[in-house]
């Protein structure tokens, strides 16, 4: 089974709330934080910081196929709300303090979420090329070796630092939003 570190989310969030609750709450409300829990791209775009990606997404091959949340939210129900809460909170906080890298840098756990999203929709198509140590359920080894998980370590150097080296966006960098 692939390991996707979303677990840290709520803990940190909780801790940080204690310190920054006033500020955080203010932003969260003002920036229509509540609607953050919906899946309407406009919600994300509601933050001008997200604007570029929104525009880029509208030009992407997925504009008809997938909205922000489809790629950036885990597809299992629990993880979904954990991620929304943590991202929602952290983004709100970051947005308010203005303290974050620009251009934005996706965080490893969020990168991993998108990698899962790909499989969620394309699992069938990539069944043949996506091995068992990736998230897809239908890998070659499951067909022949009863799904024995591979022991291979993963490279984290190179341009892609997804949770495993079988990253989709290693090649399909532009599917969500063509920034370059």
């Amino acid at each position: 089974m692939p390991q996707v570190p979303t677990g840290a989310g709520p803990v940190l969030a909780a801790a940080a709330v204690g310190l920054a609750v006033g500020l955080g709450a203010f932003t969260f409300g003002y920036a229509k934080g509540a609607s953050y829990l919906s899946t309407d791209p406009a919600v994300c775009a509601n933050c001008h910081i997200m604007g570029e990606h929104f525009t880029a997404w509208q030009r992407s091959s997925h504009r008809q196929a997938a909205a922000c949340a489809d790629c950036h939210m885990p597809h299992d129900v629990v993880g979904k709300y954990v991620a929304k809460a943590s991202n929602g909170f952290w983004h709100s906080l970051a947005f308010t303090t203005g303290n974050f890298p620009d251009p934005l840098q996706i965080k490893p756990h969020n990168r991993a979420i998108t990698e899962h999203a790909c499989r969620h929709c394309h699992g069938d198509v990539v069944a043949a090329i996506d091995p068992a140590d990736g998230p897809a359920d239908f890998a070659i080894r499951s067909a022949f070796a009863g799904g024995a998980a591979a022991e291979r370590p993963q490279i984290h150097d190179g341009p892609i630092d997804a949770g495993w080296s079988d990253s989709c966006i290693r090649c399909h960098t532009y599917v969500g939003h063509m920034v370059r």
Partner: protein, 457 residues
């Protein structure tokens, strides 16, 4: 196919029609389980050329010793200078553009180089499906079989090797279909390399990531090599690194020489297809792009994406090979490759001219007085210049795999050749830096600066 079938196919992409064991050599049998990969695999018989790559089918009249009706174009006819560059070595007799995997065994058996000189069994390491043959020859022990076959006369070894070019079993584990390295040359070569980087007891099949394996299976053969000692042990000269400078210094230390140049009498080296080494110096390697990404790109087949087993020039398949990562037109991508290759080709030609000027010079000097110390000194320059020039000439991407590095190597080669000529004219010139030191003594104080920028306001 209707949705129901697609689902079936998807849940279990491959139907196990036959049992594959660790001694199933014949790709046709594997092809029963994986018909699409097998179909592509067989397409490597195609001969299509690009500006510098692919291959050009040339008809010939079959003879008793060489029954081939079509061969790839002769590189010696394309560039006769190569015959003088390799004077006295089998390559001056027959050297052709390489072509698809389907031909690897025949082309080795029938090359004119076989008549020119007796070849050892070690040759087969990279031209036949050797995994099972090594296992059998070693009574189950791969390395033992390797050691037994290396020194055999080629014809004898060929009998053990059988009749298959590289086959499924040479890159895949029949049980899991996972990639695996089956070639002792690479198993040992990569271990030495990693050791030199401080990694102990590296086992490629245990320690490499999947993405690295997508390069290493090719690195089994597309590398510089030599036969060590009378055991003819196939060796990859990587104990000091993969750069040409490190490899030359390995040969210096080990005192290895391929042959004595017929015209100049210099103890020279022949570089051979260092694709893996050159690629490793390039920006694609740094970016984690593997050989298979470009030479075996994914293709959509029915409901599935699979790897295109028609291994070939990516320029014949730009859409799949390049455009997923580079969202620009095929024409523009081709032009970028050709621009890189044309620059490399220009420098390659200058380097070969310079090298032959030196060869002629040494030849004259020897005629006058073969014992003159300048001759020996100039011959060392030839050794360095020739290996550097050949390293790019023999590498098969005409510089694409590492564009700046390829031209850096040629620039050094030109300098070595011209300095060798200066030696002959009795000028005061330092000895050839065969231990791989840079060609210039100059070091800018800057070079000593820390990598991190410093604020000095």
């Amino acid at each position: 196919t209707n949705i129901f079938e697609r689902k079936q196919e998807a849940r279990n992409p491959f139907y196990r029609v036959v049992e594959l064991t660790d001694s199933t050599i014949d790709p046709a049998i594997w092809g029963k389980n994986f018909p699409q990969q097998y179909d592509d695999y067989r397409k490597t018989v195609d001969m299509v050329h690009t500006r510098y790559g692919g291959s050009e089918g040339t008809p010939r009249n079959p003879t008793a010793i060489d029954p081939r009706r079509v061969v790839a174009q002769s590189r010696l006819e394309e560039d006769p200078r190569l015959m003088r560059m390799w004077a006295g070595y089998a390559f001056a007799r027959d050297f052709r553009e390489e072509r698809g995997h389907a031909y690897m065994l025949d082309d080795q058996v029938f090359t004119g180089r076989q008549q020119a000189a007796p070849q050892p069994g070690a040759c087969l390491h990279c031209h036949a499906s050797m995994y099972v043959a090594y296992k059998r020859a070693g009574a189950g022990d791969l390395i033992a079989g390797f050691e037994r076959i290396n020194p055999m006369p080629y014809a004898e070894a060929k009998v053990l090797a059988g009749n298959h070019p590289v086959a499924c079993i040479d890159c895949h584990d029949p049980a899991t279909m996972e990639l695996r390295v089956t070639r002792p040359g690479f198993l040992e070569g990569i271990r030495t390399l990693k050791a030199s980087q401080g990694v102990r007891a590296y086992d490629v099949n245990r320690d490499a990531s999947r993405q690295e394996m997508r390069t290493y299976v090719c690195g089994q053969c597309h590398v510089e090599y030599y036969f060590k000692g009378k055991e003819k042990r196939l060796t990859y000269p990587w104990d000091r690194g993969l750069k040409v400078d490190s490899i030359l210094s390995h040969y210096e230390a080990s005192g290895h020489t391929d042959w004595i140049h017929e015209r100049s009498g210099a103890p020279v080296l022949k570089a051979q297809h260092p694709e893996f080494e050159m690629y490793s110096q390039g920006v694609h390697a740094r970016s984690g792009v593997a050989c298979a990404d470009c030479h075996m790109p994914y293709e959509r087949r029915g409901a599935l994406k699979i790897s295109d087993h028609h291994v070939r020039s990516p320029l014949l398949n730009i859409n799949q090979a390049c455009q997923t990562c580079h969202k620009i037109s095929e024409a523009e991508l081709r032009d970028r490759v050709y621009l890189i290759q044309d620059r490399t080709f220009e420098m390659r030609n200058i380097a070969i001219d310079a090298l032959l000027d030196l060869v002629t010079g040494i030849q004259r000097a020897r005629a006058a007085d073969s014992t003159a110390p300048v001759v020996a000194k100039a011959q060392r320059y030839q050794r360095a210049a020739q290996f550097f020039a050949d390293f790019v000439e023999a590498e098969n991407s005409m510089g694409f795999h590492a564009d700046q590095e390829a031209v850096r190597i040629l620039g050094n080669s030109i300098n070595f050749s011209r300095l060798g000529q200066a030696v002959l004219r009795g000028e005061r010139v330092p000895d050839a830096p065969l231990e791989g030191a840079s060609g210039s003594a100059h070091q800018l104080p800057r070079a000593a600066r820390p990598a991190e920028p410093i604020d000095r306001r």
